[in-house]
Amino acid sequence: MARKNRNPVGKNVDPEAQKKKTRTLTLKSSDGQEFSISESAAVLSIAIENMVEDDCAGGVIPLPLVDGGTLARVITYLNKHAEDGASDEEKRKFDEEFVSGMEMGVLFDVVLAANYLDIRGLLREVRRRIADRMKNKSVEWVRKTFHIESDFTPEEEEQMKKEFAWAWEGVDSDVDD
């Protein structure tokens, strides 16, 4: 992108926001990996923002529920969303590509991390992506994709299908998309 000097002359720059951009925090994953991140990106996570505000950060913020691989992904997301000059459209495109490339296991790692760290935008994107994998799919397909084991007897299943007969017809054929 050929976008330089975006800060117009004379624009008021909030000194506090400027400080956040230059200040870095260190996040520590459950498996002991450390990542540095600008404070302005980190506080897009409400949970981290609260920790910083309560000053219980003390340099390194431990995140015992997020492993290193997942944290690295989350940080990529946060950095993009804190980027100066990234338009909403760019961010939207980034979000789409970001989640569409994730495998199922990764989606669940990220949804739990986003939930724990309270990153609303990311949480929304991943939930939507998971829902997309279920949309208009047969029960068998969803079970296979999400490794859900049915514990119904065939008779029980038949009975339930009768109850909501209108819900079973016309789903996509069981192909991976």
């Binding site: 492993d67 998971i130 949309k135 079970r143 490794h147 119904f152 909501f164």
Partner: protein, 451 residues
């Protein structure tokens, strides 16, 4: 990295044990039919769906059903098994006879904390069931067709933030009563109101956004100190009748006597009041607090009642987005009015214009006017983005763009998309002329889209 752990997550059923609110929020993105189908996945999923707080019966839902299905009995069935609050209820199925079942459903829903309610009423002659007026938690109400008759004991919707009415029949006194009993209203979208409500008196102290399409005689804001976005369009029609050419003619229309879209007006905004016929103050002066303004050519004509000054006495200092739809560039009144708004908006950042259907006649006066304006400075030092659609390349349009390019010192993008009827050669000429115009902004990029 711990390979065994990752491998095991791939094969485990991880979705079933997600926290409830995550599952609810995943199901939220699924059509209702898919949601119901989850009940058969496993015992763990049997009753997950019955607490979903969003029930949406719309056209997509109807289309997803097998042919012989009766949507009415399905709605009964779902409401019967549903548990817990229903935050959102939508019933927007075309050609679906909702009476008399809707009475029962609304009675049921009135104890379920509905916050968002949308209904497409098929029968114009039926008033909305009175249970609707007992929804205490309503925040968003969207109605298409049907009639509103408020019960005498209507307490109001104290928490209603957003009201959208489309083609709803509403007597003038009912309209007034409804608005006055919704003190929290922030967004109001009135589209083609039926029922002779031509004089709109709006007393909504928290109103932020007002959008209106249709005919009116007057709009009176009694208390609108928070209004920042206003969109008023007088018709869906693309053509503005010739008779609207001058403001004098316009001002003499008699209310109710003519079939015109807009006639006379009384606009009051917070402390600024305007009495028609008594003062020569321009009506546009009332718009000072807006940050976004949308208008069509018809409403510009209306604003021009009483004449158009070069510039407003008070700047529209907060206005950053101006959208003008179906502007007749051959109409000097509309062009003058548009330019007056632009000139009075020193902080304008985005300008979007849709040209009216091009007509060849009588544009000499407008062209001459616009050419003359090019020597005056227009303070457009914040304007970054201009979008013009249905561009025909007529002289006044070209002169208008010339004017903008000369004045906009930080313009980043001018996007033009052409009216479909313009011939290929004419488009070529247009582009050649456009790129030769002087640009005050060295960064300005002109993007031309083929129709």
């Amino acid at each position: 990295m711990d390979r065994t752990r990752i491998k095991s997550c791939v094969l485990n059923d991880r979705i079933t044990n997600l926290p409830c609110d995550i599952i609810d929020n995943i199901l939220k993105y699924l059509p209702l039919r898919d949601v119901v189908r989850t009940s058969i996945l496993s015992r763990g999923w049997r009753y997950k769906w019955v607490t979903i707080p969003y029930l949406v019966f719309d056209e997509n839902f109807q289309e997803s059903l097998p042919e012989k299905c009766n949507i009415e009995s399905i709605i009964y069935q779902i409401l019967l098994v549903h548990k817990g609050p229903i935050i959102k209820f939508t019933l927007m199925v075309p050609d679906f006879e909702i009476y008399p079942a809707i009475d029962h459903w609304l009675h049921f829903l009135s104890n379920h904390h509905v916050e968002e309610f949308a209904l497409w009423s098929s029968d114009m002659d039926q008033p909305m069931p009175y249970h609707l007026f007992n929804f205490d938690h309503l925040r968003h109400l969207y109605l298409i067709d049907g009639e509103i008759k408020l019960p005498p004991a209507f307490k109001g919707f104290s928490g209603l933030l957003r009201l959208e009415l489309q083609n709803v029949y509403l007597a003038p006194w009912e309209f007034k009563k409804l608005i006055s009993k919704c003190p929290s209203l922030e967004y109001m979208d009135l589209d083609d109101l039926d029922g002779d409500t031509r004089d709109l008196e709006i007393d909504a102290p928290n109103l932020k956004s007002f959008s209106f399409i249709g005919r009116f005689n007057s709009i009176c804001f009694k208390n609108a100190s928070h209004l920042v976005k206003m969109s008023i369009r007088t018709s869906y029609e693309l053509e503005i009748p010739d008779e609207f050419e001058t403001s004098q003619e316009f001002a003499t229309f008699e209310p109710y006597e003519s079939d015109r879209n807009m006639i006379e007006v009384l606009v009051k905004l917070s402390s600024l009041t305007f009495e028609p016929y008594e003062s020569d103050r321009n009506m546009i002066e009332v718009l000072v607090k807006l940050s976004s303004l949308e208008s069509d050519g018809g409403f510009l004509q209306f604003l021009a009642t009483g004449g158009v000054p070069q510039k407003l006495l008070t700047n529209l200092n907060h206005l950053t987005i101006l959208s003008l739809f179906h502007i007749g560039f051959e109409s000097i009144v509309e062009v003058k009015c548009a330019l007056c708004l632009i000139r009075s908006s020193p902080n304008l950042q985005r300008l979007k214009i849709t040209s009216g259907t091009p007509r060849k006649e009588r544009n000499v006066k407008t062209t001459r006017f616009l050419t003359a304006q090019q020597t005056c400075q227009i303070p457009l030092h914040r304007l970054k983005n201009v979008k013009i659609q249905r561009f025909s390349g007529a002289e006044p349009e070209m002169e208008f763009l010339k004017l903008l390019l000369l004045a906009a010192t930080v313009l980043g993008k001018l996007e033009i998309s052409c009216y479909h009827d313009v011939a290929r050669e004419a488009r070529y000429c247009m582009v050649r002329r456009l790129v030769s115009f002087r640009r005050a902004s060295p960064e300005a990029e002109i993007i031309f889209q083929e129709p």
